[in-house]
């Protein structure tokens, strides 16, 4: 038992070493958010919670992240459900996963090239006479509704959803569907009884990863978003690197608050997935 325990720590060492950096960042952020020159203070939190700019940024960020996450999950799920036998083959699988090789920033740039008012689509539609001029093309980048950000994330995350769900679908025994059918169940019963319990944990984990990433990532909203309302990541970056030293603690407060929100969602999800029924599903009781 002792050797198993020490082996476990040896295996965990690289991960723990890697975590030093984000942990240091979080602790530093917390420290800077509650200490000023005069010592402990909650003034920065008070200031932040009185800021309209922060709340409109937070609302915009949460709305954009939820829409991008929901769309990516739905599209990914539909694609996997319809095509999972075909996607199990190597070449279709690689072609679906290809966008994952590119950084988000590159994908954001592609969206600008394709969907900006002067982009490829606008020019093609104008050339074939579907729109009177490129200025009539809908504003999809640097728009106040976050369309560009949502399109970029959906496009980029759908392959990730497929990557996560494909092994789950491959592992569902087809005979389980037959059981439901012979017991008198319809297609909805098959989904509810066989598919949903299998995919639910992966969907929750995938949702959490995409939501956290879209809420906090900087490069795509910085490239393709507007200056108002801006995503919280852009706002805190501006406060951190802006000319005013007074605003720097606010950047830390924003990041601490967002981290707490994500931590609470992750904890709730973990507790939900770790219920006895969910563990029974994975055969780990």
């Amino acid at each position: 038992m002792k050797s198993y325990s020490s082996k476990l720590w040896i295996h965990l060492t690289p991960a723990l070493l890697f975590l030093i950096l984000p942990f240091f960042g979080i602790i530093t952020a917390v420290r800077h958010s509650i200490f000023a020159d005069e010592g402990f203070t909650l003034n920065f939190y008070q200031e932040l919670f009185q800021s309209d700019r922060f709340f409109s940024s937070l609302a915009f960020s949460i709305r954009t992240s939820i829409i991008a996450t929901a769309l990516a999950i739905m599209i990914g799920l539909i694609l996997v459900r319809l095509f999972h036998p075909y996607l199990a083959k190597l070449s279709p699988r690689i072609s679906v996963w290809l966008p994952m090789l590119f950084p988000h920033f590159v994908w954001g740039y592609l969206v600008i090239l394709l969907l900006a008012e002067s982009g490829l689509f606008a020019q093609v539609l104008s050339a074939i006479g579907w729109i009177d001029g490129t200025n009539h093309f809908p504003i999809l980048t640097r728009d106040p509704y976050g369309f560009g950000i949502i399109i970029t994330y959906v496009w980029k995350e759908v392959p990730f959803v497929i990557l996560m769900l494909l092994p789950v679908y491959a592992a569902i025994p087809t005979t389980s569907y037959d059981v439901v059918k012979t017991l008198g169940g319809n297609r909805w019963d098959q989904f509810k009884t066989v598919e949903w319990p299998h995919i639910q944990p992966t969907l929750i984990e995938t949702c959490l990863i995409i939501f956290s990433f879209t809420l906090t990532a900087y490069e795509v909203p910085a490239l393709i978003g507007t200056t108002y309302p801006e995503m919280v990541s852009v706002l805190s970056y501006q406060w951190f690197y802006g000319g005013s030293w007074d605003e720097r603690p606010l950047a830390f407060v924003v990041m601490v608050c967002v981290s707490i929100v994500i931590f609470m969602i992750a904890l709730t999800s973990y507790l939900y997935l770790n219920r006895r029924r969910m563990r029974a599903m994975r055969g780990r009781l």
């Binding site: 059981v179 012979t182 017991l183 008198g184 029974a280 055969g283 780990r284």
Partner: protein, 320 residues
């Protein structure tokens, strides 16, 4: 007569391969039929067609006088118990059983409780499938299928994933359980002993048809063709027309008229505590299994077939 199940000219082809060739049989209310045949002969496909999970190329399936050939599986009241229990892992034992009843719109607390008692798993009602043994899981799968109150229940080698001891215990239990429930059943197996135990009648299935459908006594006394005789392993097939029961074979020269052949011992085992030899009859190119008894462990020896014991294969209709 109105049968629970009436199968008329059922035919199934996968590509060029014929799986069922105009199969016909009827099953009365509360009766049980065992279908036995070699692995890969198409027994499971037959059950899947009856359950509606596969379509026949042509033919008719009547369920209590109603044509259900083209009905979806959930629209024909035929239950199927699979080789694996396939319980829903996120549901407890109780919920799994209740699920079958719910799907059929027949859910009630007392019914689930009765079934739990019947399968002797009342104390395990709130356990998940991962917390019970394979045999218990198969009992739950059976109760779940029964809970949906099927007009006919199909069992596809339900004990094949269990160890020998458990399989034997469960056979008796299932047999009693199904006769108590008065369920019309078709039991598929590749094990002849299991087939005899589970069915009122036995159908020996090969090349898409029932080679013989009768009770165990009749099949053993009068196999209709060389395939059945070889499958039973209780006869020596002399040619396409004649056979002799193994217990009529002599190791000493009989007084009356007889035929003799040379038997070569391949290997020996113990069956029911008796030393049993597996022999190859060179002249007939047949392999038989019989008690070694007085023969002793000789590598080669003569066997004698009294002529009065040699019988002719006769189709059931031609038997006197």
């Amino acid at each position: 007569m109105n049968y629970s199940l009436d199968v008329i000219n059922l035919y199934k082809k996968f590509g060029e391969k014929k799986i069922l060739q105009n199969l016909q049989f009827q099953l009365g209310q509360g009766k049980s039929l065992s279908i036995v045949g070699p692995s890969g002969s198409g027994k499971t496909t037959l059950l899947r067609i009856l359950a509606g999970l596969e379509s026949p190329t042509h033919g008719t399936i009547m369920l209590n006088g109603k044509n259900v050939t083209h009905h979806k599986p959930n629209k024909r009241n035929i239950g199927l118990v699979f080789q694996q229990p396939l319980l829903f892992p996120h549901m407890t034992v109780k919920e799994n059983i209740d699920y079958g009843a719910k799907m059929a719109g027949q859910s009630s607390k007392s019914k689930t409780a009765d079934l739990l008692r019947a399968i002797s798993l009342n104390d395990y009602a709130d356990r998940f499938p991962a917390e019970i043994s394979g045999g218990q899981q198969q009992r739950v799968a059976l109760a779940r299928a029964i809970a949906s109150e099927p007009e006919v229940l199909l069992l596809d080698e339900p004990f094949s994933s269990l160890d020998v001891q458990l399989r034997e215990e469960l056979r008796y239990w299932v047999k009693d359980f199904l006769s108590q429930q008065q369920t019309t059943t078709i039991f598929v197996t590749h094990d002849l002993e299991e087939a005899m135990l589970m069915g009122d009648h036995i159908a020996i299935f090969h090349e898409g048809i029932f080679q013989q459908l009768d009770d165990a006594d009749e099949i053993h006394k009068h196999p209709v063709n060389p395939f059945v005789a070889r499958f039973l392993k209780s006869h020596l097939v002399i040619d396409d027309h004649q056979y002799i029961p193994i217990q009529s074979i002599r190791s000493r020269k009989p007084e009356g008229e007889h035929r003799s052949y040379t038997a070569k011992l391949l290997h020996w085992t113990y069956t029911l505590g008796q030393k049993t030899g597996h022999f190859y009859i060179e002249e007939l190119h047949e392999t038989i299994t019989m008690p070694i008894g007085t023969i002793g462990l000789k590598e080669k020896f003569s066997i004698y077939l009294p002529l009065e014991k040699i019988q002719f294969f006769q189709e059931a209709g031609n038997r006197k």
